[in-house]
């Protein structure tokens, strides 16, 4: 479970995700413009940038929601993301948390995690599925990790905003993804919840490759540590480097951080 590599995903060259010259244009407007980016196995990468920089569109491309107008997107050496459906990409090992928390509100916390769990997700196996003891253990572990123990049987719709965000992260973990995409995971969270989320991500560091899009600079500094931070601007990479390097970059200060 903690191994980053698994069969089927060829990460021989050390990178898990390659975006090469990706362009996405909506009626002539280029949301992404010749974007090049790659993520290494086990890396925790933070992506920052002003509104409209193309951060969410980039995640849409990676998860199959939006098709690139040109360029290539590869997961490992072999999965061509531009040709795969959303559910095939999820099966291949990319999990995504959306900007707005989206959990199944009419299902309990337990059922949300159960549905997300890695397993055969076709019709017949689903009809006859029974939870094994190990699977129940995994759900119990995840529930503790996201601090929702004792609330397994609550409807997800009744959770607080922050709890929903955590439940969604828990659902991601149940999928055992190779690559986790987090779109503004601490948006709308209280300071305590934000701190706890940073703690959670630091625990996951190295176990999964993680890409975090975030506006909260304090949070980014907290989780980026000595890792790379990428700044997007107008659909392309403006700067890349350690947090302190990026913060000192003149162009970044001009377009994003402000003087």
């Amino acid at each position: 479970m903690n191994t980053v590599k698994r069969e089927g995903l060829d990460t021989a060259h050390g990178a898990i995700l390659y975006l090469n010259d990706i362009t996405v244009s909506f009626d002539g407007f280029k949301a992404i413009n010749k974007l090049n980016l790659d993520i290494s196995v086990g890396e925790l990468r933070c992506i920052i940038g002003p509104n409209g920089a193309g951060k969410t569109t980039m995640m849409d491309v990676i998860t199959g929601k939006t098709r690139p107008t040109s360029g290539t997107a590869f997961f490992g050496q072999t999965y061509d993301l531009a040709r795969m459906t959303e559910y095939d990409i999820a099966h291949a090992g990319i999990g995504r948390k959306f900007q707005r928390p989206t959990v199944f509100e009419q299902h309990t916390v337990f059922e949300n995690l159960e549905l997300a769990m890695k397993m055969d997700k076709r019709v017949r196996p689903t009809l006859f599925a029974r939870l094994s003891a190990e699977q129940e253990d995994r759900i119990a572990q995840t529930v503790r990790l996201i601090r929702l123990h004792g609330q397994e049987q609550r409807l997800a719709g009744l959770l607080s905003h922050g709890q929903k965000q955590w439940l969604e992260i828990g659902m991601l973990l149940m999928q055992e993804p190779q690559l986790i995409l987090l779109d503004e995971p601490v948006a709308g969270m209280s300071d305590a919840e934000t701190a706890r989320t940073a703690e959670l991500l630091n625990e996951l560091r190295g176990k999964h490759s993680i890409m975090v899009v975030e506006h909260d600079m304090g949070f980014v500094t907290e989780i980026a540590q000595q890792g790379k931070v990428t700044v997007l601007h107008e659909g392309a990479v403006l700067a890349e480097g350690r947090m302190d390097q990026v913060q000192a970059d003149e162009r970044v200060i001009d377009v994003y951080l402000g003087r």
Binding site: T102, E105, H107
Partner: protein
């Protein structure tokens, strides 16, 4: 659980009691002579039998609408197709006892046809027609559903297309040349499997088969919605996009439940025709499909039992209304639908649940009074 459990212990007991009561009706019909206090009339038995067919259709609709969030306004089509498939056998079983004493059904003689069209081949076999009852609605639903769901047609657009589909089939079946009796449809059935179709014994058996299939379908649906697949279906209803991002392909789940629902509805139609004695294209009219939706809504969708209760309630009202105030029924139906939508979105079952959860009236009255005193 914060959600009312599907089939609690009292619910099982109630279900058992109702089933036993329903089993007794045909016995009371056969065992006691007319005029006896315990006699159940053939008319009443036929009415309950008919309502059970409607209930099965409403149950089938609940599977797609209540649980999966796919609102079909065309289930009347599947119901009618199942009815027509069985009707073909019943027409063949008339033999030479029709008005024209011909081997062909009267409507074909009337059209001056000399032989059966090709698609009537083998329909003299009861079991072949029973296979058609399942296959025709099933295959149509599968093919239609495949293209609609694959194109990601959802919500109101899907509903409108199903409505158009049943309307198109109605126009097709109205034509005499289609070979299904035009606007008169099939009627004047004489026998089924050699038994006189109007004999009390035959009617009792038809009633019992309907009851068995309704209870069987209810248990099947319960098993499906309480399985993990059932939770996936409800996830399709609540957030289909999210479901795709955790690795499910909604297409096959929707197609499975949609096809199963159509098959159940076809079976309901097949049980309906011999008990009512007629099937014609008006069963495919858009209004019929909409009525089915109202049954499910009135009873409480997403509960399985609710739509069954709804089918009995609405049709019971309809029987009374159409006798007492024949012109007002459609207004009453419309009003009922509006009231249910505005005031009881969980239908009759939701209302019962609410009454149970509410504190006893004495407490409720005492609390505001007490707070007033305190103030």
């Amino acid at each position: 659980m914060n959600r009312p459990a599907l089939f609690s212990k009292p619910a099982w007991l109630a279900l058992g009691a109702v089933t036993v009561a329903a089993l007794l009706l045909p016995l009371l019909n056969l065992a006691f002579p007319p005029g006896h206090a315990l006699h159940v009339s053939g008319y009443a038995l036929g009415l309950v039998g008919k309502f059970m067919c409607y209930a099965l259709a409403a149950l089938a609709l609940d599977l797609v609408w209540g649980y999966t969030g796919i609102l079909s306004l065309g289930h009347g089509l599947f119901f009618a197709l199942g009815g027509y498939a069985h009707g073909m056998y019943l027409m063949r079983a008339i033999g030479r006892d029709g008005v024209y004493q011909s081997a062909l059904p009267d409507f074909m003689v009337f059209l001056d046809w000399k032989t059966y069209p090709w698609y009537w081949a083998m329909t003299d076999s009861f079991w072949y027609c029973m296979a058609l009852v399942v296959l025709v609605p099933g295959v149509l639903a599968f093919v239609f559903g495949y293209f609609a769901f694959r194109s990601r047609i959802k919500g109101v657009y899907f509903s409108i297309i199903t409505q158009a589909l049943t309307y198109a089939f109605m126009l097709l079946f109205f034509r005499n040349d289609t070979g299904f009796g035009g606007n008169n449809g099939f009627t004047d059935f004489k026998r089924i499997l050699g038994f006189d179709i109007t004999a009390p014994g035959t009617r009792a058996v038809l009633y019992l088969v309907t009851l068995a299939l309704l209870v069987g379908a209810l248990l099947l649906c319960r098993w499906i919605v309480t399985s993990r697949l059932g939770r996936v279906l409800q996830a399709v209803r609540d957030s289909e996009a999210r479901l795709m991002f955790i690795g499910y392909n909604p297409l096959w789940f929707k197609l499975f439940v949609w096809t199963l629902s159509a098959v159940l509805c076809g079976i309901a139609g097949a049980l309906y025709v011999p008990q009512v004695g007629i099937i014609n294209p008006s069963e495919m009219s858009p209004a019929n499909s909409i009525e089915m939706v109202i049954w499910a809504a009135v009873g409480g969708r997403g509960t399985l039992v609710g739509p069954i209760i709804g089918a009995f309630t609405v049709n019971g009202l309809k029987s009374w209304f159409t006798a007492a105030f024949p012109d007002l029924w459609l207004f009453a139906l419309g009003l009922l639908f509006i009231l249910v939508t505005l005031f009881m979105q969980q239908g009759i079952l939701g209302l019962i649940g609410k009454m149970k959860r509410r504190p006893a009236p004495a407490d409720a009255a005492a609390t505001p009074a007490a707070s007033k005193e305190a103030a």
